[in-house]
């Protein structure tokens, strides 16, 4: 295994170990992973609720989904092709912002 922080990975032979004999992760990496996964998972669940609400709305509440809001623009057309495009960026932006905040917090804690 290459050193953390080195530029490229080096191939090193390593054996296997039964999962029950595997030592726990060090506390710092464990915390980073947990924080990262909690944020990412929370945002993903929220995002997927929005994503699946569109086909559910289209198939099970078509009178609302295909209601015209202006001209020929329906609720579902607007949400699918405009709102959700913006949402893809907003979710990623929130994730990146929270990640940068966490990195700063770790740096302050280290100092």
């Amino acid at each position: 295994m290459a050193e953390v922080g080195s530029n490229d990975y080096e191939y090193v032979e390593a054996g296997t170990i039964d999962i029950k004999d595997l030592p726990p992760l060090d506390a710092t990496t464990n915390k980073i992973m947990k924080d990262e996964l909690t944020t990412g998972f929370g945002l993903t669940v929220f995002y997927f609720i929005l994503i699946f609400s569109i086909p559910i709305m289209n198939w099970f509440a078509p009178e609302f989904a295909f209601k015209k809001i202006w001209g020929g623009m329906t609720v579902t057309w607007f949400v699918t092709t405009v709102i959700m495009m913006a949402m893809a960026f907003i979710i990623a932006y929130v994730h990146t912002t929270l990640y940068e905040k966490r990195i700063k917090k770790y740096e302050v804690a280290n100092k």
Partner: protein, 522 residues
């Protein structure tokens, strides 16, 4: 001859080719494998974000999304929505850790995660399968444009594009490819913005044209001379603006959503892009920028598909436009709409944009697959002790080989829909590499056997459901089979890993490397 050369489409295409040749010449010095495969890891978030956008927004987006919207209405627009999800998930779960890992190719991830040559070999096979699926529709788009607007044969178009790509990637490597991709992205985004302005100027506002399409029902005037049966084509606007036009059931829609939403995380040419950033922070910013660009692009592509449909049913388009919309099929809606909106100059800009999209995406596929062949297969498995120079030569030879293979695949898909073929590539990626990368980065319990089983079962089930749907009961026949293939990939990895239990002894070091803040700025 001189008159033909002064045509706007010829001027713009030659200008694009000239720029590519110049950039490729400037970046031709690739002395190490790091230079050739990952551009020396020297690209900042703006250049790399543009290049990721360039890689992601292929002919499927530039030509295919508008074509699918034109053809399928709301169900076509739904493709764009599904394509837009994946980059966000990739930014959340994979982008940062993948850069911290720091290797050359997608197969490197498996090889080093499990210290396994077998895993590397299986990954190479999957990379080549996905890249082949993805490259064929790009070549189809290039050949159709050349055939329709420059009068060449389909076969010539395929060969010409492959030769250009061999030169472009073979000489420029990742450095030339990245700079060209970044530049090409802005060319096609510019083309879309000009088309948007032209549509607005012509009074083709979104709400207004959707209302006109929705209320249209009956034969479309002016289509009979080009229709196969000699009669005007019938069109039902209400069905087109509703759902169920292409995906007849709720579960068909859900299946596509799963396949396309998770596909991006498993696309080798997109994953490779994150190795070229100088740091994990830059990788995340690159992804964010690419998402912003991609979302804008999808929004514009859907709108332009609707504009194309509105022009088609209006009865006011020229004979040339009506002919191209009927004969060109849904893949050629963007160039034809450009011709209707802004004449020859806008058509020229759009053709340059389409070539930019095709070259940009194909170059990413060529460089990824050459990494799989030259680095993963030749340099690492078959012949270990070779110099950096020999590695670069092997990569260049593999690019010529790939040009031949992709060319042959391009010839097989002449009548297919670009957008749909790419959607199938997404599904294969979602069922193979997506489980490997998500679980490999976040779950210590994943084993070598689990990874190999996931790749093989994900690939096998996808291929079966895509190519042999007739052998399945009707409830398992999906246009995009993500609802079955993606869980099959994930479950295979999890179940086999839980049964196997033998994880790499250094898995904790691996997790520390890909997650710890110490490796943030490599």
């Amino acid at each position: 001859m001189m008159k033909a050369l002064l045509e706007p489409k010829m001027i713009m295409t030659i200008a694009l080719m000239g720029t590519i040749v110049y950039i490729t010449y400037l970046t031709k010095k690739n002395t190490t494998a790091s230079d050739f495969f990952v551009g020396g890891r020297s690209f900042g978030w703006f250049t790399n974000g543009s290049a990721i956008g360039g890689d992601y927004l292929s002919a499927a987006t530039f030509l295919g999304i508008a074509g699918l919207t034109f053809q399928l209405g709301y169900d076509g627009a739904y493709y764009a929505f599904c394509f837009s999800i994946g980059l966000t998930l990739l930014a959340i779960f994979v982008a940062g850790p993948l850069r911290r890992f720091g290797a050359f190719t997608v197969a490197d991830f498996l090889a080093y995660r499990f210290h396994s040559k077998r895993a590397r070999l299986v990954a190479v096979a999957v990379v080549l399968a996905i890249s082949g699926f993805y490259a064929a529709p790009q070549l189809l788009g290039a050949a159709q444009i050349l055939s329709m607007f420059f009068g060449t044969s389909y076969e010539f178009g395929i060969i010409f594009t492959c030769v250009v790509m061999i030169f472009y990637v073979g000489i420029g490597g990742m450095k030339g490819t990245t700079i060209n991709q970044a530049l090409e992205l802005w060319i096609r985004l510019g083309a879309f913005v000009v088309m948007l302005i032209a549509a607005m100027y012509s009074g083709l506002h979104y709400d207004k044209i959707l209302a006109a399409i929705n209320s249209f029902s009956g034969p479309i005037t002016g289509t009979s001379p080009y229709a196969l049966d000699g009669k005007d084509i019938n069109f039902d606007g209400a069905a087109w603006t509703g759902t169920g036009f292409y995906f007849p059931t709720f579960w068909q829609t859900i299946s596509m959503t799963i396949g396309l939403a998770l596909g991006t995380i498993g696309l080798p040419h997109i994953l490779l892009r994150f190795y070229t950033n100088p740091s994990a922070k830059a990788a995340r910013k690159s992804a964010l920028m690419a998402i912003g660009i991609a979302s804008t692009f999808f929004l514009l592509a859907v709108f332009l598909g609707v504009v194309g449909r509105a022009i088609f049913i209006s009865g006011t388009a020229s004979e040339e436009v009506m002919r191209d919309l009927v004969l060109g099929g849904n893949n050629m809606v963007i160039p034809t709409t450009a011709l209707a909106l802004g004449g020859k100059w806008l058509l020229g800009l759009v053709i340059a944009g389409a070539f930019a999209a095709i070259f940009s995406n194909l170059s990413g596929l060529f460089i990824t697959s050459s990494g799989a062949l030259a680095h993963d297969l030749y340099a690492t498995v078959m012949k270990k002790d070779i110099t950096q120079k020999q590695r670069v030569i092997a990569a260049k030879v593999s690019i010529v080989l790939l040009g031949i293979i992709y060319g042959a695949l391009g010839l097989l898909v002449k009548d297919a829909s670009i957008g749909h073929l790419v959607a199938l590539a997404f599904t294969v990626a979602a069922s193979t590499f997506t489980p490997i990368f998500i679980l490999g980065i976040w779950w210590r319990g994943m084993t070598e056997r689990g990874a190999i089983a996931g790749l093989l079962i994900g690939l096998g089930v996808s291929m079966w459901m895509i190519f042999l749907p007739g052998t399945l009961p009707s409830f398992l026949q999906f246009k995009i089979p993500g609802i079955v293939t993606v869980p099959a990939g994930f479950l295979s990895v999890i179940i086999v890993s839980l049964l196997d239990r033998k994880v790499p002894a250094d898995v904790n070091d691996f997790m520390k490397r890909v997650h710890s803040k110490e490796s943030e700025t490599v």
